[in-house]
Point group: C2
Chain length 333, copies 2
DNA sequence: CTGAAAGCGCTTACAG
DNA sequence: CTGAAAGCGCTTACAG
């Protein structure tokens, strides 16, 4: 392996100068620069990143911890993260926990080991105290998740309002019995969407029957099961708000299996706006979360913190949007 | 920051011993071990990974280069990769090129810089000579892609046979005019699937009309467009083989828009077996690629090479499988 | 079983 | 604009 010494020797300069040229330090004469670059070229020299990382105490790498990379909502966030990471000269280490808390802890440990310069958490199953503790030491930003009452930098949408608007959309169409397929109530964002649903029902003076609320885990299968229960009621809802598009798609399958037409017999609105929402027929009405932008903003926030040029600990709330497609309409009769 | 010296001092041993204890070297007395561990605990010491990486000339990190992480086929491969990486103590650096060749080159450069110990390429837009060159120096395995006539370690399926079987399935149902929505012919795996289609047609003495073949880029939109052209013919095919599930889903949308029922009016078979194939109605018949297993095998192969315990340069061919669902049936009349 | 010492390959004050 | 020298925080032969 050729190293910097070899280059220095060939170019007749010190390693300090070689280092300066390669790091584009302007205080080197053009003549010397050329000489060094030529030597680099002749020897096919590549600086050793491991040495440089060590010396500079930075790997220019950031770990992103998420529950499931095959979930298209998260993979879109990751694409946003990666885009700005690349453009700002950083790398992203993948932390797919597959919903495993122990795995989450392992990834968080990478920042304690100084292996990465910062961390983006798109999942947070760990107790908030634990996360708060590391966040005092090291740049962390939460994407989608957040902790009430703490000032950890965060990029989210307003889940309560978004869920309220989804429900209101159904109310505006004339629905009065509206079922809610909830996300896991163990995580804030699941609770927030339920809160939004309740608010809308309350505002419109519609009774919230607990039998109209079914908890799922955001998957198609969970949506299917929840919908089956909802339809088994002797007074089934005429419209469904599902807290994720995948669950909404599961609900559509269940409705079809029961011989119901969407939206004529039952309206369905989802949440997220994943691509699959347009693969199905009819196309899914939903609440759009700007996943890619959540990624870009979170990464920009994090890198600003790492460079120390972040003004304060920001909490960004990005706009959501109702996307009208084909699965909602006015109720029969 | 507490460092190893502090621990050594507190435990009254040398840093060599601290290092041995932490790296679980067995040649340390139990008493000493306890003493060191206690000191580590008191000081809350974490070894600096950047220093350790540098010293050991290894980051225990592998970069995975792929065209698009939001594509569920690739994200499933990545999940497989990550699973074995985690279990074998490695990390994966994400290299989403978004189909950009320059980006691909940048990631490949990380191995030249010794930033990563190896690389998995699930895309290979770069000239094969370039990739072959790095593969001489450093552990690389190709996942899905391969280069004819070179011995770069590879994990793929037999795309030619898989495509032939897909086509044969349609022939067996009685179809004689079979359209093919091809992947990009600029990449081997696109060409291989076309080859399989042609073989099946030939074997069954069916004429291959060039108008029956439309090239797409694996996306839903491309499938939609290709299907529109196919249906515009004055003698349209009664069955379609699409080289990716996304294109098959696009073809289904196009058929519906034209008022055709799948499979009664036109049969469709896809390729990949992504989850979305079961979201749509009717559910998509397809060729299953074992994406997760491609990932696990590729990572195992790579890590074996890195540890130097790989016997030879292997080319693994994993089994595919026809998955019968609802989008294919016998032609009318 | 343990320690003293060298050294991994860079970068960075410091001095000139 | 350039170089000599120190040193980042570990690990690893080597010697005992």
């Amino acid at each position: 392996m050729t190293k910097m010494d070899d280059v220095a020797k060939l170019a007749n300069v010190s390693t300090a100068t070689v280092s300066r040229v390669l790091s584009k330090n302007p205080n080197v004469s053009l003549k010397t620069q050329r000489r060094v670059l030529e030597a680099v070229d002749i020897l096919g020299y590549k600086p050793n990143r491991l040495a440089s990382n060590f010396r500079k105490r930075s790997s220019k790498t950031v770990v992103v911890v998420l529950p499931d990379i095959t979930n298209s909502f998260f993979s879109k966030i990751v694409q946003g993260l990666e885009e700005v990471a690349q453009s700002r000269g950083y790398h992203v280490l993948l932390g797919d926990t597959r919903n495993n808390v122990e795995s989450e802890r392992n990834f968080i440990d990478l920042v304690n080991q100084k292996f990465v310069d910062g961390m983006i958490l798109a999942t947070a199953r760990l107790p908030k105290e634990e996360i708060l503790a590391v966040s005092q030491e090291i740049p962390i930003v939460l994407a989608c998740e957040y902790f009430d009452g703490f000032d950890i930098p965060t990029v989210t949408i307003d889940n309560v309002s978004a869920a309220r608007e989804a429900t209101q959309h159904l109310v505006n169409l004339g629905h009065r019995r509206i079922g809610f397929i909830s996300g896991p109530l163990s995580i804030v964002l699941g609770r927030d969407r339920l809160k939004g649903y309740r608010q809308a029902m309350l505002i419109n003076e519609l009774p919230v029957e607990e039998s109209l609320i079914q908890e799922g885990d955001f998957t198609v299968q969970a949506g299917y099961n929840a919908m089956m229960k909802l339809m088994a009621s002797n007074h089934p809802p005429s419209a469904i708000f599902a807290a994720s598009d995948e669950m909404a798609i599961g609900a559509m399958k269940a409705a079809r299996n029961k011989g119901l037409n969407v939206p004529e017999d039952v309206s369905i609105i989802g949440f997220d706006d994943i691509p699959a929402g347009t693969y199905v027929h009819p196309e899914l009405t939903t609440i759009r979360q700007p996943a890619f932008e959540i990624g870009t903003q979170a990464m920009n926030l994090l890198l600003d913190m790492i460079k120390g040029c972040a003004k304060e600990r920001k909490q960004l709330v990005l706009p959501h949007q109702v996307v009208l497609r084909e699965t909602t309409t006015s109720p029969r009769g």
